[in-house]
């Protein structure tokens, strides 16, 4: 996966951190101090389809060949999260109880072209 640099235009992962103090949520979220949300941005040119986030296999290779020979299909390629991980939260609920949970698929770790 590629992390976005200043002049990058191809599909990459942009860092985005939500500071709970900054949005006034530090009174009910005990831990962590913020949320490393991150997101995917950038262009997916034809040769980038199904790369770099998706694992190469016989099937993806065949799919790429079909896509490469079909300009219309390749144009629909999108820059999307290919790897995500959970966000662990410790927070006060409306009744003053303390709840700990892992919310699945909240942090974008890697991006790739569909």
């Amino acid at each position: 996966s590629i992390d976005c640099s200043g002049d990058s235009r191809t599909c990459c992962r942009k860092d985005f951190f939500v500071d709970f103090k900054e949005i006034g949520w530090e009174d009910w979220i005990i831990h962590p101090e913020g949320y490393h949300m991150n997101y995917c941005a950038g262009l997916c040119p034809r040769h980038m389809a199904a790369a770099p986030g998706l694992a190469a296999s016989f099937h993806t290779a065949v799919l790429n060949l079909i896509k490469a020979s079909n300009a219309e299909a390749a144009a629909d390629s999108c820059c999307v999260p290919t790897q995500r991980r959970p966000l662990s939260l410790l927070y006060y609920d409306r009744d003053g109880n303390i709840v700990k949970t892992d919310i699945p698929d909240m942090i974008v770790d890697a991006c790739g072209c569909t």
């Binding site: 985005f16 939500v18 949005i23 949520w25 009174d27 009910w28 005990i30 949320y35 949300m37 997101y39 995917c40 941005a41 997916c44 219309e72 299909a73 629909d76 999108c78 820059c79 999307v80 966000l87 939260l89 927070y91 006060y92 609920d93 409306r94 009744d95 003053g96 109880n97 303390i98 709840v99 700990k100 949970t101 892992d102 919310i103 699945p104 909240m106």
Partner: protein, 232 residues
């Protein structure tokens, strides 16, 4: 994206950087609240004392270490273990006691469970933690009753009863999983625990609930799985 349409993420790039930030912040807030099943951010008027919270978290960690199974060990017993399943969100809920009326013979403790999750989760395990401060030498018999209010809230039903002989000061844990499961099953959120001691023996429960020895219930829960319907 459907054929012929733009990628959903492309719209973000067209916005000015400040507007992009606002959109992302709104998305982050909405995403967290919806995944936690909260209609809005909770307003916490009286947060727990830090000491009480740290003690409860420490007790939970100790319990996890005690119940952890070695890899590959056969599953035993009837109590379900927390096993992370794919896509199944799991919760650990700490509910601290609110003191109710008390006499020389009995103490009432109220536990109010979360309203936000009551319909969507199933309780896997729940443990009541009490800290005993023994008033004198010898054993101190204590009867612990779990009371559940009816739907009108006028009468209570005894859902469980245990007798303990307290010999030394320290934490005691009691399995209240079934009572909490019933509570959630009936759509109720309040569990009352009555501690009864013989006349003139004094309560072994520490009177000071303001610090690190506050009674609490630790519940482990997971998102209720939808019933599978198979068509023949």
């Amino acid at each position: 994206a459907a054929k012929g349409t733009r990628c959903p993420a492309c719209g973000l790039a067209a916005l000015a950087p400040s507007a992009q930030r606002d959109v992302l912040l709104a998305l982050a807030k909405q995403s967290i609240l919806s995944k936690l099943g909260l209609p809005d951010r909770p307003n916490t008027t009286q947060p727990m004392p830090r000491a009480a919270l740290l003690t409860a978290l420490h007790r939970l960690r100790v319990q996890h270490m005690d119940t952890a199974e070695p890899p590959g060990a056969p599953r035993g017993g009837s109590s379900p273990r927390l096993r992370p399943g794919r896509g199944l969100q799991q919760y650990e809920i700490l509910s601290f006691a609110e003191s109710g009326s008390s006499t020389s013979r009995s103490v009432l403790l109220h536990f109010r469970f979360t309203r936000d999750l009551s319909g969507s989760i199933e309780i896997l395990r729940a443990t009541l933690y009490l800290f005993w401060a023994v008033p004198g030498p010898g054993t101190h018999p204590v009867t612990i009753r779990l009371l559940q209010p009816d739907s009108a809230g006028l009468n209570t039903t005894v859902t469980g009863e245990s007798r303990l002989e307290v010999q030394k000061s320290g934490w005691t844990s009691l399995d209240v999983g079934q009572a909490v499961q019933q509570l959630f099953g009936h759509g109720s959120q309040r569990l009352t625990v009555e501690l009864e001691v013989p006349e003139a023996r004094g309560s072994p429960l520490l009177a000071d609930h303001s610090g690190s020895r506050w009674p609490f219930v630790a519940a482990q829960a997971r998102v209720r799985t939808p019933h599978r319907v198979r068509r023949r």
